[in-house]
């Protein structure tokens, strides 16, 4: 009996510890939280999923016509658009640099350069090897034109925000009127998906602080703003989804290649594991252990 008690006590201690640990898995703080992003139902999110090229092309158009007015994508080269899995990949093109869509898109851009004879600064049409030009001559100019908040570069945006493409989609299509009782400053907009803490700006019930935060970007998308070449109706929801898909591709252009390689690697390792296990059984067959 004493032995039983001796054993039972620590067991109960363990149970308490496990229970305590389990209850801790609830979110740590309620106020100051952003709304959980809605799912964009993206084709590329599953382990086998790939990008929908038509969606990437629509997304590029939204970026080009709307976002790129303020947001740079410094890390993107035009040629990347024509790589396998990219929005303008063409299996007939010998290389991304010779892709006719890529060349046409690059040529639309004006790139700052110097005249190779005189050294004078000039503007020339872009080539496939050029990076996307920034809308701002420098960071300070970008901030000054936007009330002091520099519009962030979008090159790796889905990797730089928890929630990834779902977050971008939710944010862009999630603007709502601020709830009554929330004081919104000049040049700021309320968005329930934006990170922040609304407690200091909230006059209502302190237990019902609204989700989200303030963002300096106004709701820029409006229905029919972009004309999609494939006839898709350009609703705010559609445009937000498509541009989120494009930014997701741009943040990690190798994602599809990576996942496909991964399938091969795992299949190889699984077979290798099976063979090694069989060898292990054979080698250890006559050893008691």
């Amino acid at each position: 009996m004493t032995q039983f008690l001796h054993k039972a006590m620590p067991l109960r201690k363990i149970a308490v510890a496990v229970l305590a640990f389990a209850t801790l898995s609830s979110p740590a703080f309620a106020a100051g939280e952003a709304k959980h992003p809605r799912s964009g139902g993206f084709s590329f999110e599953s382990p086998f999923g790939t990008h929908d090229q038509a969606q990437l092309q629509r997304g590029y158009k939204v970026y080009r016509e709307v976002c790129s007015v303020c947001h740079s994508m410094d890390l993107l080269s035009f040629r990347t658009l024509g790589e396998r899995g990219g929005p303008f990949y063409d299996s007939h093109a010998a290389s991304p640099a010779e892709n006719r869509f890529v060349r046409a898109i690059a040529a639309e851009a004006q790139i700052a350069d110097i005249d190779t004879e005189t050294g004078e600064p000039i503007m020339r049409p872009g080539i496939a090897a050029d990076r996307f030009p920034s809308p701002w001559p420098n960071r300070t100019a970008g901030a000054a034109a936007n009330g002091g908040a520099y519009p962030p570069d979008l090159s790796v945006m889905t990797k730089a925000r928890a929630g990834g493409a779902d977050y971008i989609y939710s944010l862009l299509s999630g603007y709502v009127d601020p709830p009554a009782g929330l004081r919104v400053g000049v040049g700021q907009y309320y968005n329930p998906y934006m990170a922040g803490d609304m407690t200091p700006f909230w006059d209502g019930d302190p237990d019902k602080v609204p989700y989200g935060g303030f963002i300096a970007m106004p709701p820029v998308l409006s229905d029919g703003q972009v004309t999609f070449d494939d006839g898709t109706v350009a609703s705010v929801d559609q445009m937000a989804k498509d541009v989120a898909a494009f930014i997701s591709w741009a943040s990690d252009p190798r994602a599809t290649e990576r996942k496909q390689t991964g399938m091969g690697v795992l299949a190889f390792l699984a077979i290798f594991a099976g063979l090694t296990y069989a060898s292990y059984r054979k080698i250890w067959k006559n050893v008691a252990h």
Partner: protein
Amino acid sequence: MSGHESTYVPKTGVEKWLDSRLPIVRFGADYLSLPTPKNLNYWYTFGAILSICLVVQIVTGIFLAMHYQPNTEMAFASVERIMRDVNGGWLIRYVHSNGASMFFVAVYIHMLRGLYYGSYKAPREMIWILGCIIFFLMIATAFLGYVLPWGQMSYWGAEVITNLVGAIPLIGEPILIWLRGGPAIDNATLNRFFSLHYLLPFVIFGVVVLHLWALHTAGQNNPVGILIPKDREKKDTVPFHPYYTVKDGFALILFLMMFAVFVFFMPNALGHADNYIPANPLVTPAHIVPEWYMLPFYAILRAIPDKFGGVVAMFAAIGILFVLPWLDTSKVRSMRYRPTMKIFYALFVLNGLLLGWCGAQLPDAAVVPGMPSFTLIDGQLNSYLWLTRLSTLYYFAFFVVVLPLVGLRETPLKIPLSISEPVLKGPDAMSGAVPASAEKKG
């Protein structure tokens, strides 16, 4: 194993010539024929897994260094360039960044295995101490490496950790400036961090060689925890190759499969999204958190109200591991035969996970939201601050109270006289001592 006689016989003329000048082939052959206890379970495969982790990190790191730019203006973009434009660069970079996490998964399991089976006790203290040095070097290397991509967490992590040095009274400030190469974290800091990040893995490699040397001198521990007498060596051991090369190999492949799932399907799951925002000294991130493997130590750092006290506690948390062999008073190595200690051990593992969890939370946040609480000294009782403190207390109590006292007061179970005894008779055999004559036959 200790006193293991070399069985290598050089056959060709070249081998004989070499063997009398540099017996390197003999060294390798003896390593492979090393008599190894035959009852090692899968927890013992992590040593081999760790050596592969180190090689993977060094090889991928060398290739990354060929493309990386240790300059504050270019570092972030150069890492992205590796992943976009360098052939196979995305693979090399993701293997390296996830490899650090895998390295720590394996090292924590390896250390906890050593703790459970008493692998630190005489005559293996040096193996354990060298292992602690490796662990400390790993933390330093991982921290330096995390700064290199020059994202927000890189920068602010470096800010927080180097600031700790500044907490040392009197000499802290000058050392801080010397360490950073200036009054603030800047290009000089990034340059020296890159240099040291490239250096330390080779230092680790050297200490690993010593770790293995000590292992082969003192002999491999085993789950029963008994030393194998000379006369039983034939019965209780098997040559390392092929018996353990194949077992370690199988475990390694399973480990690599888990590694591959992270690298290929969720390469950024273990990192923080903020590190894809280029470093900006003017914008502090909402929450500065280290990588998951440092969280328990970060929690201990924050548990102490005094900054310097926190630094001391954090280093003590690692430092105490060095004296572990002298804190444990029990003569019994394996916790298999220490039922009371086993429970404290389980609590220690859970407590370690809890500390890690606490390290990722805001100290002022309520542990159980909505539960009534009161202020205790400097914080709400129902807050992560106090939970972290309790957890920190158990961490240290385990080493300075539990290990010495339980070792003196517990009654261990009967220990088998040899490895093959429980092996041959099944688990029931452990409880009763077997007569010497039976043992000889067995």
